[in-house]
């Protein structure tokens, strides 16, 4: 920053956009928590202003050629300075806009969804906190700053997942989310520290410049740090093996799931990857690992979604699967494919979650069979928007998902990983299958009654507060429909991101879209056959194989594995060591100290007390010592 010249507009606008949610958080938590409407107004106002700022910045810098950096020195320690700053380039601006938009929409939606909840004010406070943390994460200029806000986002997630904290499973889910992401963050921190030690700086432009990094770090070190940072991504984006926290995180309110656990927070991992794409692409090993883990997560999560009964869990597994898909695209070497899918996924996944929220709000249950039975199909907006969203998810033209999926599939085909391509194809098939399974279960329930809906999730039910929810649904549906056609402008925009971006677009394989659509059609037909027909038994082909049903239903026994590992390694291994240390070493030392003090006291007691002749002896010995001292020493 040049303090002499007046502050640039962009800086003021960005800083305002970042600080307003923080201010909202402070005001709400301190002052207006009991005033529900006021809290909501403050939070939505801040979010709206951030959205306006994001749009302004996007428009202003659409033609930017070089990234804008504003940095100041935050801390100085010896030779090292820790900067704090803002980095505006196409990648960060687009993510900034996405986060701001979805935050705003979800907060408006929550007016309807969370109405009547006693924690309304606290909810909006935490939402503002999240908005601040996520927005600042996207425009951070150094890796350390990203890490700080990464953790803050995790904190907001914890607060929001465990929002209904008197429900035991909710608070447990919050803890699980936090601890699991934290485990990944340990690796992230290690990679960060290694990088800092080697390079002396953590600025993103420096990190993504292959010349400087390649000169100072050995390839082995690059791979090591890349893998460590990728560990953090695995945790935050719920990839294999740290994926079981995301389905449990559905304990939080549905808008929270829409905002955090589909569109923005879990996407922070993928965003970090695209942010550091220049750095990661220096290490082929890291890219290959990314590709592998993305593939595994995609397939695993899809299989788990096939047998799920809870509507939110289906979409949660779908999120994991789609994030894996994005990582596959990035790992195959295309920054644009992954980033584009990130943006479109944010749109339609949030849409799907919000529709699920409408169902849950009306029917009071998460179970999709129950929702169907209670006449969920009568909620017209929700049903139509769900179909639109599911279509985007399955890659049906002309929805946005079609375009982004094509890009990734094309890149996988071109990048020389045939196994990955096949896996992606299988994953796409399964995605379509489970999405339409859900739709058909809701649309065509078995033994449907017209039973009145029971008490909804929060015990209060306002029939009048519908318009926030439906309006937002239609907004997002509209975005989903049109976003795909912005592919080329977006591509050109992101191409100006500079280093790390491969400007080469793959050759269009004209057979690829057709093949993908056919695959999707087959999947829809299968879902129809099993769930939609009049005479269908609504039992999937997977559920008929008990072994597979159990395997998928128990999340491939990953939770059991973790429990087992924790029990043996931590409780029976490390805890025992520490308990023994605590008891024998620390307590023993203190007890020994006490005992030795008492023993010393006994010795001194013997010296001082007891028979007079012993005391006399000691006195005389002391006098002799004194004589010696005076005679020879002194």
């Amino acid at each position: 920053m040049q303090p002499a010249t007046p502050l640039p507009n962009s800086l003021i606008v960005t800083a305002a956009a970042l600080l307003l949610p923080l201010l909202a958080f402070g005001v709400i938590m301190l002052a207006t928590r009991s005033r529900h409407r006021l809290s909501a107004a403050i939070s939505i106002g801040a979010a709206g202003l951030s959205l306006l700022a994001a749009v302004y910045l996007l428009v202003q810098h659409w033609q930017m050629q070089a990234p804008l950096i504003f940095q100041a020195v935050w801390m100085v320690s010896g030779q090292m300075t820790i900067p704090i700053g803002i980095l505006l380039d196409p990648i960060s601006l687009s993510m900034f806009a996405v986060v701001a938009a979805i935050s705003f929409l979800v907060q408006v939606y929550s007016l309807g969804y969370m109405a009547g909840d006693p924690g309304f004010g606290r909810y909006y406070g935490c939402m503002s906190l999240f908005a601040w943390a996520m927005l600042t994460l996207t425009v951070s200029s150094s890796l350390l700053q990203i890490y700080i806000f990464w953790e803050l986002v995790g904190l907001a997630s914890y607060l929001l997942i465990g929002f209904w904290f008197d429900k035991f499973s909710a608070s447990e889910a919050g803890k699980k989310a936090f601890v699991m992401t934290r485990t990944g963050d340990v690796a992230f921190l290690l990679g960060l520290v290694l990088l800092w030690l080697q390079l002396g700086t953590l600025d993103i432009p420096v990190l993504t410049n292959p010349a400087t990094v390649g000169a100072q770090l050995s390839p082995g070190m690059i791979t090591l740090t890349a893998l460590l940072i990728f560990g953090g991504i695995v945790g935050k984006s719920a990839q294999f093996p740290l994926l079981t926290w995301l389905p449990d995180a559905m304990e939080g309110p549905t808008p929270v799931s829409a905002l955090l656990h589909s569109a923005t927070m879990v996407a922070a991992g993928v965003y970090l990857f695209s942010r550091l794409f220049g750095f990661f692409s220096l290490s082929p090993t890291a890219m290959a690992v990314c590709l592998t883990i993305g593939t595994i997560s995609m397939l695993l999560a899809s299989t788990m979604a096939m047998v799920a009964r809870d509507i939110k869990q289906v979409w949660a597994y779908s999120t994991i699967s789609q994030l894996g898909f994005m990582l596959m695209g990035l790992g195959a070497g295309s920054l644009f494919a992954g980033a584009f899918h990130l943006i479109t996924h944010a749109g339609f996944k949030a849409l799907l979650f919000l529709c699920a929220g409408v169902f849950i709000h009306h029917c009071g249950t998460n179970d999709m069979f129950e929702i169907g039975r209670q006449g969920g199909r009568r909620l017209k907006s929700a049903v139509v928007c769900t179909i639109i969203g599911a279509g985007a998810l399955s890659g049906l033209p002309p929805l946005s998902g079609f375009f982004s999926k094509e890009m990734i599939l094309g890149h996988l085909l071109d990048s020389g990983h045939p196994v990955a391509f096949l896996a992606a194809a299988v994953g796409a098939f399964l995605t379509t299958y489970y999405s339409f399974r859900l739709i058909f279960i809701i649309l065509f329930p078995r033994d449907s009654g017209d039973a009145p809906p029971p008490e909804s999730h929060d015990g209060h039910h306002h029939a009048g507060s519908e318009w926030p929810m439906t309006t937002v649904l239609w907004c997002l549906a509209g975005v989903t429909v049109v976003l795909g056609f912005f592919q080329t402008p977006l591509h050109d925009f992101l191409a100006r991101a500079g280093t790390g971006f491969q400007a080469a677009t793959p050759a269009h394989h004209s057979w690829l879209p057709v093949a993908a659509c056919l695959l999707a059609a087959v999947a829809i037909l299968q879902a129809w056959f099993e769930y939609g027909r009049k005479k269908a038994r609504q039992i999937g082909w997977v559920e008929q194989i008990p072994f597979l049903a159990d395997l998928f239903g128990q999340r491939w026994y990953l939770d059991r594995l973790y429990r087992y590992l924790l029990d043996t390694l931590v409780y029976r291994g490390v805890s025992r060591l520490f308990t023994a240390n605590d008891r024998r070493v620390i307590d023993g030392a203190l007890d020994g100290l006490g005992r030795s003090t008492i023993g010393l006291g006994r010795v001194i007691d013997w010296v001082h007390g007891g028979m007079i002749q012993y005391r006399l002896m000691i006195m005389v010995a002391a006098v002799i010592g004194l004589i010696l001292f005076i005679g020879w020493g002194g």
């Binding site: 012993y614 002896m617 005389v620 010995a621 002799i624």
Partner: protein, 175 residues
Amino acid sequence: MSILTLLFYAIALLIVVATAMAVTRRNMVHAVLYLVLSFFGTAMLFYLLGAPFLAALEIIIYAGAIMVLFLFLIMMIRLKTLPGMFFPVGQLLPAILISAGFLVVSSVMVGRNPAGWAPMPAAQASPLAFGVYLFQTHWLAVEIASMLLLVALVGAYVLGRRVRGPSADAREEAP
């Protein structure tokens, strides 16, 4: 080497032997009597070293009053020999060590003074001169010493009073 030197060594030998005997007697009366002999020797030593008045005082006060006081008490207590260990084990070795240590240290300290090795000329302090000197220069200390003796007198009387209550002698007489 004059007669006085020989006399000195003889008296010194007497004193040391008598004191050693006094220290190691089991019977307390014997010990006191040996010590009286030692004090006689000390008196002779004082006379040899030119303090005839002090020699007389040593016999009268030290050997004559103090030791007799000891004998009185020993008779009152009726314990001529103590039962049990003569020299207790736990005390004997440390006592020997400490005494020997003191002896060695003091001897070495004394020996470091070179002026002390020259023989001294004989002299005699006549009682008249000594008395004049004492009461002229140290009259205050003499007064204080007499006060001290008064305190001792009163204190001994107070401590020795027989208080109402059971006492060793009374119990011994009871059946």
